[in-house]
């Protein structure tokens, strides 16, 4: 296209940083060999805006505070740098745009007016969801969580299958160096949500660039509001601009109004694509490049009276609507829990309410869970818990020596707890129904439940004719579900765990005195 005349180092810099964060976040979700240390998750996910915001509230995380402060500082300085450098959904859209340009589906962008009503309507709705504690609905639109679900439900299955395919071929040649990965994570409804998320992004990105970020995305709108106060803004130098429109054509945010020589900086994602294309250096940061020339950038922000009225109308309307909605949802939620079995949620989540209030359903915990016992919910926790994780003991059980989900959760919905603490966190309590037990019905040996129990909250006691039968000690049970998973009785198990709505502290397992060594001669 003949646009490669000028060096555009800022753009190159942006691409390098963006690829770094994008790859890293992707690897976090598809780390099938468990190579990435927990500290990486803690540090690098702290830059993700919405999760970090939640984590500061939920668990006063210092990492998140630092990460978020850095994001804020950069936004105050240069605008929505976050959207082009860090946000994985943003970078995913940039990739889609790049590919669609290569495939010649869509090559040019043009300026479009901001859809203000829609944008602020969405934003107010999200605010209300946050206030009413229905975070999961915000999570459906939060860019980090969207990308998380896409990675977890689309990329992870692909990578796992690829690994297992290669493993299959290698093992045919007796090479056992690449291990097969147990695959239990494909969940159809979670996959559908991820697919819808992805399709929406695909359509938006191909046909109107970063419109998702500038119309729906709650983080985009919020950072947009801050970027109005930014010290450095991208603007057009009216003295140099010839209104040729070259900058507008490459602007993914459709925010360069070259006819009026204005940049709607609120919608600018600071990708620097426009910097290299102007023949006269007529577009750039207002303070550094245009120091000598006076230009006004804030004229676009003057709100008319009509607009103000419209906004307040929309705001009050949606306020009413969503408070109703939230009430209805939480009512359903209560009923659900009373009626059915209480779902079991990961240790560290502390209570169903806490999980509901902070989880954005990014499915990072679901992706990294080594036993895959963590599964996305449908309506186990009501609408409020839609897609949030719960433990499914028909799939597996919670590994006693593992606290990984609590270590990686970026929102603090699963609070970081030590392994010692996890081993005493009672997420549910065991229930035993003797009349279904094999030892009772068939009068043959079993002991599968007790065998699996790490604390011996299920222990085998003498029954009759040399047989042993399970006995439960609820005090020391942590509800890990190993007994339920292992119980061979079908279709309804003889031993099962009922979740604790609010997690308790279990008593430590009994440890008596050591048994003395027996050193005799050979007994035969």
């Amino acid at each position: 296209m003949g646009q490669e005349k000028k060096k555009n180092n800022l753009k190159k810099f942006r691409i390098i940083i963006a690829i770094f964060f994008f790859l890293l976040v992707t690897l976090f979700f598809v780390d099938i060999y468990e190579l990435i240390p927990n500290s990486f998750y803690k540090f690098f996910l702290s830059f993700q805006f919405f999760p970090s915001l939640l984590k500061i509230i939920s668990s006063l995380s210092i990492f998140s505070l630092i990460g978020l402060t850095i994001v804020f500082i950069f936004t105050f300085l240069f605008g929505r740098v976050y959207c082009s450098f860090i946000c994985p959904t943003g970078v995913l859209q940039d990739l889609i745009i790049r590919i669609s340009k290569k495939l010649k589906i869509k090559r040019k962008f043009k300026y479009s007016k901001e859809s203000k009503v829609l944008r602020y309507l969405f934003f107010i709705l999200f605010l209300l969801f946050i206030i009413s504690g229905t975070i999961t609905l915000v999570g459906l639109f939060d860019p980090y969580s969207i990308y998380g679900r896409i990675s977890s439900n689309i990329f992870l299955p692909l990578i796992t299958n690829l690994n297992n395919g290669v493993n299959f071929v290698l093992e045919k040649f007796n090479y056992y160096g690449l291990r097969p990965i147990t695959y239990k994570t494909f969940v159809s409804y979670a996959f559908i949500v991820a697919l819808v998320n992805f399709s929406v992004l695909l359509v938006f990105a191909i046909f109107s660039g970063r419109s998702y970020c500038n119309t729906i995305c709650p983080v985009g709108t919020f950072l947009g509001l801050i970027s109005r106060l930014s010290i450095y803004k991208i603007a057009i130098n009216k003295n140099l601009c010839t209104s040729c429109g070259k900058c507008s054509v490459v602007c993914k945010s459709n925010c360069i109004d070259f006819k009026n020589k204005k940049v709607d900086f609120d919608r600018c994602v600071v990708c620097f694509n426009c910097f290299g294309v102007c023949d006269f250096n007529g577009i750039g940061f207002n303070k550094s490049i245009f120091r000598k020339v006076n230009i006004d950038v804030d004229s676009s922000i003057n709100e008319t009276k009509r607009e103000f009225l419209l906004k307040s109308f929309v705001a009050s309307g949606s306020l009413l609507l969503s408070s109703r909605l939230a009430k209805a949802i939480s009512y359903n939620n209560k009923n659900k829990i009373l009626l059915n079995n209480i779902p079991i949620i990961p240790p560290g989540a502390s209570s169903i309410e806490h999980l509901n209030n902070y989880c954005t359903a990014c499915h990072l915990c679901v992706s990294i869970c080594p036993t895959k016992v963590l599964q996305p919910s449908v309506l186990e926790m009501g609408l409020q818990g839609f897609l949030q994780p719960h433990l499914d003991y028909s799939k597996n059980y919670c590994h006693y020596e593992c606290n990984k989900c609590s270590q990686v959760c970026p929102t603090g919905a699963i609070r970081p707890i030590s392994l010692e603490e996890k081993k005493l966190t009672q997420i549910g309590v065991v229930h035993f129904e003797m009349k279904r037990c094999i030892v009772y019905t068939d009068e043959t040996s079993c002991g599968s439940c007790s065998e699996h129990c790490p604390t011996q909250a299920v222990t085998m006691v003498d029954y009759k004719d040399g047989l042993t039968i399970p006995k439960v000690i609820p005090d020391i049970c942590i509800g890990c579900g190993a007994c339920e998973y292992a119980c061979p009785v079908r279709p309804i198990k003889a031993i099962y765990v009922v979740g604790n709505k609010i997690h308790n502290k279990a008593k430590p397992p009994k440890m008596d005195k050591p048994i003395l060594n027996t050193t005799e001669d050979f007994p035969f």
Binding site: N174, M460, G466, K513, P514
Partner: protein, 308 residues
């Protein structure tokens, strides 16, 4: 075009190679090696008082060396107990130094390949790692294989089985020339003790079926299908309570025993006695004896006893 052609060829070659490899494997199964009569100087060697490596070295020497069981260029599968994500001190898994030493002996005897696996109870990669067995085996030159994927397991028929008529068995067990069974002696809430025969629950896919259908009988039934060529029972650290997993190190007793026998029933009977129990407390031992798998009456056997 060139690139595409290259891909086509590579994929073609890969598919062809894969298919032919699977045909070869199939052939192996058809010609599956029977348990030939092994001429060992003793029916059973019991040894005590040393560390696992010393005890194994002495015991296998008494048996005429590992060469009695492993010939040159043979493929060996070693099946320890790696069921739990616990360190060696907790005595829930077979001692890693013992497993490593057995692999070393096999390699020294000229074994072509030595595979080690278990269908673990806990998440398998953690069990392999934290039991110390993966490291020990790799250091000794053996190969760790997963036991946690159904694709490895092949349906077999157990003709003499009473409760267990079919099972899906790990392909390595079916293909290997030599099968060495290395359990650890420990208590078990369901079966009393977990010994050599019980350890074979880790070579099948669906253990739940066994638990549902008279566990002791299933354990005995399976041995009528496959008897290991050599059983090495690790009685160095013994989980004397709360088995098979244990709650803490308080459950562990250091007994410093090792039993070595080609007869799985005899090995289990001897281990039961060492634990101080009557063999009737572990019903699958006499069940297996009745089915003609081996001899539980130790007085009938030629036993070598060694104290270090």
């Amino acid at each position: 075009m060139k690139r595409r052609e290259f891909f086509k060829k590579t994929i073609g070659a890969g598919v062809f190679a894969g298919l032919s490899a699977s045909m070869l494997n199939f052939k192996d199964i058809i010609a599956s090696h029977d348990n030939k009569k092994i001429s060992a100087p003793y029916d059973l060697v019991a040894i005590k008082g040393g560390n696992p490596v010393e005890m194994f070295d002495e015991a296998i020497k008494a048996m005429g060396g590992i060469q009695t069981f492993v010939k040159k260029n043979q493929i060996v599968v070693v099946k320890p107990n790696i069921g739990w994500d616990l360190p060696p001190e907790r005595a829930a898994n077979t001692d890693p130094t013992l497993v490593g030493r057995i692999v070393e002996h096999c390699i020294q005897a000229g074994a072509k390949k030595v595979y080690v696996f278990d269908n673990t109870v806990n998440e398998w990669t953690r069990c392999y790692k934290n039991s110390g067995i993966e490291d020990a085996v790799k250091k000794a030159g053996g190969i760790m294989v997963s036991g946690k994927d159904e694709k490895y397991y092949q349906e077999i028929e157990i003709k003499n089985g009473k409760s267990l008529k079919n099972a899906k068995v790990h392909e390595l067990i079916l293909q290997a020339d030599v099968f060495i069974n290395v359990p650890i002696l420990k208590t078990h809430g369901g079966t009393g003790l977990s010994l050599a025969m019980k350890n074979l629950m880790g070579v099948v896919w669906d253990r739940g079926y066994w638990h549902r259908n008279n566990l002791h009988q299933c354990i005995a039934d399976f041995v009528t299908f496959k008897k290991p060529h050599l059983n090495v029972i690790d009685g160095y650290r013994v989980l004397a309570r709360n088995g098979p997993r244990g709650v803490s190190e308080a459950d562990v007793v250091q007994m410093k025993y090792l039993i070595l026998s080609p007869d799985i029933v005899a090995a289990d009977a001897a281990a039961t006695k060492i634990f101080g129990w009557d063999i009737n407390k572990v019903p699958h031992i006499s069940m297996a004896e009745e089915m003609g798998v081996g001899i539980a009456n130790l007085q009938k056997l030629n036993i070598k006893r060694i104290t270090l």
